[in-house]
Symmetry: C2
Amino acid sequence: MLSPIRTATAQPAFGLDAVFGGACPRFVRDEEIFGEGEAADYVYQVVSGAVRTYRILRDGRRQIDEFHFAGDHFGLELSDVHRVTAEAMADTTVRMIRRGALSDLAAQRGDAARAIFRLTAEGLQRSQDHVLMLGRRSACERVAGLLLDIAERTHAKAELDVPMSRQDMADYLGLTIETVSRTLTSLQDEGLIALPTVRHVVLQDRSALERMTA
Amino acid sequence: MLSPIRTATAQPAFGLDAVFGGACPRFVRDEEIFGEGEAADYVYQVVSGAVRTYRILRDGRRQIDEFHFAGDHFGLELSDVHRVTAEAMADTTVRMIRRGALSDLAAQRGDAARAIFRLTAEGLQRSQDHVLMLGRRSACERVAGLLLDIAERTHAKAELDVPMSRQDMADYLGLTIETVSRTLTSLQDEGLIALPTVRHVVLQDRSALERMTA
DNA sequence: CGACACTTTGAAGAGGTTCAACTGGTGTGG
DNA sequence: CCACACCAGTTGAACCTCTTCAAAGTGTCG
């Protein structure tokens, strides 16, 4: 049975979990996992922590492509070279599988090929949602959407641990750090959220936030 | 051998071309091919013409997800329901294959599964490029990027046929129709392009345009 | 405790939007 | 074959959101 995107993202890809290597490489906060242009020899899965993937324009502008949380996959490329850079946002452990091994498996087993398709298609859906966010939403709607997305993907209820800096949020949302900060304070002033500390958010009026993003 | 995105997009997906049905349904300009929320029973390939896929927010804001030209595929979903609406931008013919038939084929043949992965991954790459465009580029850079993209994907040299309206361009680029129009005229004033008619563009200084998008 | 990085806040400015009017191309009918 | 109407596109001016630049505040870690 096919699941809607959020659910599908949360559940492990059928048939692939077993094939990842047993060793779990660790990365400290801000450590690079792979760089744009490097050989894409491995596919990764976040075990714990969180990862950002991004690209940088010549003049230094950065666009974060995606945030990856526990259970999420990243690094699967069509090309044999990574198109993005991946960095740990917090201390992070990942599992890896050689891309060649994955291809072999997909060639032999239909369910593995299906799982790979599912992973890619989930990424595509997320990217399409991201496009909609960046193309047609206001700063406020973007920030609200990100908070709800983080809550969902980290299985948080009302209280969130935000693993990323304001700069990360800005570079994901296509905004500046100042706008993100101002927007968060204005959401707080309106009583929709609370910010007990910089990296903790309490969703006080979730339905109001959801109304902004629909 | 793996190809970079543009080339890969242009070349037909290996192993899938033969499986598409022989009949080529035709759609007139602005006719709907499928709607958001409808059952995703078929996957499509543009034979001739051009297609837009888009989503609409409650308040009417529209975001065009992707333009599809001859040879491009669309409508392949993870979910069993289409997440976007597809419409012909010009008189268009498409080929179709039942999604179930595609799944069966993928389960039996590794190369078909690989082709499906390739299609999806190409879509993902395009969507990621779109995110970068919307998140971190100015109106001028976006318009220039779109013109170059159309040129490449329609195999045009210096002279382009632009199959979409200004509104389509705006809704793809996350801008307003007025901004698109102003940007085009300013590119013309700077001598980078010429606009002999509304839907024809001549790239007069391609390298300058490319410099804007890199 | 002090230094440093990150975040917040303020004020001015720019890019893009909005609203409105005008232009031009296309198709139709007289 | 011309006149008119209609729609898409263009242009103009005012406005607004977000950005930029600057400074103050906060938290964290030695």
